[in-house]
């Protein structure tokens, strides 16, 4: 049997590399499956190596304690981003490799029935298909490992370019990755074929005698069950997200597209033809429509990667943009001030005007000097320091780098609309800040860059916000002016009624960079949007490209067995142009259906986004990046259209009668 599997593969590989010798369609199918495995392995390998490299990154030699903490904070962010990239890569590789392999098996039902007819047993068919998957998975991994290195250098470049990692950051090769890459390729290929092989092995030998391979059952129980399980998962995320707070809610909402897309894909054999038939078009002799009715499984398989692509890209960019917009709106609503001054905390006894004392309310000389400027009614000066917070004990003990703000509790409450929440904050105590991540009661161990403060009670908290911010708010007495020297400070200034704004600005300009709150909010929003877009590009860019290649693959594989069908249409009296037009119309209808279904999966994400933003900020926010969404739709239509055009032109090039010969 092994001999047969080898022979079969040798044959198929032969034709893959020598398409001109005939059997080239089988070759294209193999090439498609191989490409999906290669790129999937490359993407997973690259993301994993980058993640490990970032996680083990050491701060540069000679960095100060504060710089070390900032560095760790930065790498933590990069690691969590790469974690998302890796998660996406694993999902996409799993989905695209397994669905492509399953599709190639589905498309060969007639060949498989023929093997049964000449004496092949069910076990032999299963072993043949699994052997093929094993070999293709191995080959895909062998090609995927070097491709992964190229992908890695591109991903690392992108992350350096966007300053998510320090300059000079490069993914590092690790020997054990070979095991992961080969394991990924083989496992996903075999897993994809496993179910399809079981079903294909049950093919009845008589099916070989039907002219057009009998269509497999449209929906199976296992397919419906998978669909329901993932639908349940998506619903659970949508329901729980609003209760997860800003960070948890965002993470859950951003994860909705995956189960939602899988659920939609599971029901695609029912949904795609149904929707595709509603797409308005007229074509030659209604052939496209008839094909949609007839080849439900093929339509569904062609639509599957596109549904996932649309769900992921539209769902995540929409969610990212909405959360960013919600944070921007929330920040604008919560900020009560006229001017914002960005400065650096002065060293004690340094530039502070005379008459101020080092123990001024905000602990910085700057605050006191701002407060004394004529026309200033009130000021909240907030000085930022990196710190390390340890929570829990025993196995749950966890240390993370947080951002700490030294504030004047009363002024902070006024400037940020948190009311009396911080009234009790004084002395040796801290409050949980708007950035979350710190328990809102109990005690934490707090370490500043230069000093260990030991256990400190958390006596107050402000609500966590969509836009984030400091994790910890501390009263002025806790940190000495020496420790604050050189730290960035931001002062929210409220003018007295009737004050001369221009004059106040001119005076404040001597202390730091002054902007109106409106300008500052605008700049903050721009920065937030730009960061969001960069993250989306890193998280979705290569994954989206891979899914798009999956789309092309499925169109090519879907067309692979249609030469005869096209030839039959032509000998029935259709011109070559009509056949190609009919194929294009069919592709257009399937693409439109896939776009709509992908939008449905993305829509589930948007429900979670609306509920989460409503629960966190009080205002349900949905801000969809329409240009990107339109771009995805246009690219999808263009790519499926072009691929269909090329495959159908190629399939109709030979004289039709030559295609009607058997075998």
């Amino acid at each position: 049997m092994r001999g047969l599997s080898r022979a079969g593969l040798a044959e198929r590989f032969g034709s893959a590399f020598r398409p001109s010798l005939g059997g080239g369609w089988g070759g294209r199918m193999v090439a498609g499956a191989l490409l999906s495995a290669t790129l999937g392995v490359a993407l997973v390998q690259s993301s994993l190596l980058l993640l490990i490299t970032a996680a083990l990154l050491d701060p540069p030699a000679g960095a100060s304690a504060a710089e070390r903490l900032e560095f760790t904070d930065g790498t933590t962010a990069a690691v969590s981003m790469l974690g998302v990239v890796l998660g996406g890569a694993v999902f996409l590789a799993g989905f695209i490799i397994s669905s492509t392999f399953a599709f190639t098996v589905d498309q060969r039902r007639r060949d498989l029935a023929l093997l049964r007819l000449v004496g092949g047993s069910r076990g032999q068919l299963r072993r043949l298909l699994l052997g093929e998957a094993l070999l293709l998975g191995t080959l895909g991994a062998a090609l995927g490992v070097p491709s992964g290195l190229a992908v890695m250098s591109f991903q690392a470049w992108l992350m350096r370019e966007f300053a998510f990692v320090p300059p000079g950051f490069e993914g590092r090769w690790r020997m054990w990755i070979l095991g992961v890459s080969f394991g990924t390729g083989i496992l996903l290929a075999v897993a994809g074929v496993l179910v399809a092989a079981r079903r294909a092995a049950r093919v009845r030998p008589l099916e070989a005698l039907r002219e057009t391979g009998a269509a497999a059952k449209v929906m199976t129980w296992s397919r419906a069950l998978i669909g329901l399980v993932f639908l349940g998962g998506a619903l659970a995320l949508v329901i729980v997200a609003p209760a997860g707070g800003p960070a948890g809610g965002m993470a859950m909402a951003m994860n909705v597209p995956i189960p939602a897309a899988v659920a939609v894909v599971a029901f695609a054999p029912l949904l795609v033809p149904l929707i595709a038939r509603l797409v308005p078009f007229t074509g030659p002799a209604g052939l496209a429509r008839a094909n949609l009715r007839d080849a439900r499984r093929r339509s569904a398989s062609v639509a599957a990667p596109l549904i996932v692509l649309v769900a992921l890209v539209v769902g995540n960019t929409g969610a990212g943009a909405s959360f960013t917009a919600s944070g921007v709106r929330e920040l604008a609503a919560q900020t009560h001030a006229d001017l914002v001054v960005e400065s650096t905390a002065a060293a004690p006894g340094g530039t502070a005007p005379s008459g101020t004392d080092a123990a001024s309310p905000s602990g910085t000389a700057g605050a006191a000097s701002i407060a004394q400027v004529p026309g200033v009614a009130s000021v909240s000066t907030e000085t930022r320091l990196p710190a390390e917070v340890t929570t829990g004990s025993g196995e749950d003990r966890e240390t993370e780098v947080v951002s700490l703000l030294v504030i004047d509790p009363a002024a902070y409450g006024k400037a940020h609309g948190t009311g009396d929440a911080l009234a009790s904050l004084s002395g040796r105590a801290v409050a949980a800040g708007p950035g979350g991540d710190v328990p809102t009661k109990g005690t934490v161990e707090l370490r500043l860059p230069t000093r260990d403060l030991g256990r400190i009670p958390v006596t107050a908290s402000v609500p966590a916000t969509m836009s984030g911010g400091a994790n910890l708010l501390v009263p002025p007495g806790l940190v000495t002016p020496q420790e604050l020297a050189g730290a960035p400070a931001r002062s929210f200034v409220t003018l007295s009624p009737g004050a001369d704004a221009a004059a106040v600005r001119a005076t404040l300009a001597k202390i730091g960079t002054v902007s109106t709150v409106a300008d500052w909010l605008r700049a903050d929003a721009e920065a937030a949007n730009s960061t969001n877009q960069k993250i989306m590009l890193i998280v979705l860019g290569l994954g989206g490209l891979y899914a798009l290649i999956g789309v092309i693959n499925s169109v090519v594989i879907g067309a692979a067995t249609r030469r005869r069908e096209f030839a039959e249409a032509r000998v029935t009296g259709m011109t070559r142009a009509q056949v190609v037009r009919s194929a294009l119309l069919e592709s257009y209808a399937v693409t439109t259906a896939a776009l709509l279904l992908g939008a449905v999966a993305a829509g589930a994400t948007f429900i979670a986004v609306l509920a989460t933003t409503k629960s966190v900020t009080g205002t349900a926010t949905l801000d969809l990046p329409w240009p990107q969404i339109a771009g995805v739709a246009l690219i999808a239509l263009a790519v499926t259209g072009a691929t269909t055009l090329i495959t159908s032109l190629s399939a109709t090039r030979p004289q039709p009668v030559t295609q009607l010969r058997s075998s």
């Binding site: 032969g14 059997g23 004496g119 005698l209 030559t658 058997s662 075998s663």
Partner: protein, 246 residues
């Protein structure tokens, strides 16, 4: 028509029935047929289209289950045979030839012919495979793929594939249906020579010329065996068929 079951028949059908559909839509494609196909002899099955010829052949070859009755290949009752038993049967004791050749497009003639042996776990000798191809007159086409062969040549590869396991019975469903008259003649000559050498053949056809080459012809109508001719000429077969089609 009722025939006594003779021991030693290549294939025996005892009162077999095959019904498609249910209730009002039920069609009795084969309706209580009892027949045997003698060993070492070529039997043609004829009848108007829709008379149940192909279904009868499929049932006789174990490709379709009968709803009632018994099917024997030699002395083996395959009526209730499981999938693996039927697989073993297809590997060793029966061969198939069909109107549409059904070769595997990516395999060469030689590889197509060797396939059943490989599936049976044997290591086919190249000489055996080539000899089988030579026997159907294709010694010079071993490395060609089906697409590079004419219809008649493809059908001869299919016959070689069916014969390479030296089956007890060769089932042929319209083997000349897709061929021009000269290619059809070559294929029929080949089958005649095989039958003369002792091969049992059961062939479904609608072509009186093809049926006349067989040793005997069974006529079906509405799923029932209605007549049997032995050693008839093309003319006689055509006349009888026309009579039953009326």
């Amino acid at each position: 028509m009722t025939t006594m079951t003779m021991t030693g028949a290549a294939v025996t059908l005892q009162d077999i029935t095959r019904v498609y559909g249910r209730g009002q839509a039920a069609v009795r494609a084969v309706d209580g047929v009892t027949l045997d196909f003698p060993r070492g002899s070529w039997t043609a099955v004829m009848g108007p289209s829709g008379s149940g010829k192909s279904t009868l052949l499929h049932c006789a070859a174990g490709l379709e289950r009968v709803d009632s009755g018994r099917v024997l290949i030699g002395d083996t009752d395959i009526t209730a045979a499981g999938d693996s038993q039927l697989t073993a049967l297809r590997r060793t004791r029966i061969g198939f030839v069909f109107q549409s050749f059904n070769l595997i497009g990516s395999l060469t003639a030689e590889q197509n012919v060797a396939l059943p042996l490989r599936l049976a776990g044997q290591r086919p000798s190249r000489a055996d495979v080539r000899a089988t191809l030579a026997a159907v007159g294709l010694a010079d086409r071993v490395r060609h793929r089906p697409r590079e062969l004419s219809g008649g040549q493809q059908q001869r590869v299919a016959i070689a594939r069916a014969m390479v396991t030296r089956p007890e019975v060769l089932f042929a469903d319209e083997p000349t249906g897709a061929l021009d008259s000269s290619a059809a003649r070559t294929v029929l000559d080949l089958m005649r020579a095989m039958a003369d050498a002792g091969q049992s053949i059961v062939m479904v056809t609608h072509d009186p010329g093809a049926a006349a080459r067989a040793d005997s012809v069974v006529f079906l109508r509405d799923g029932r065996a209605v007549d049997r001719l032995t050693g008839a000429s093309t003319h006689a077969v055509a006349d009888r068929l026309a009579a039953w089609e009326r």
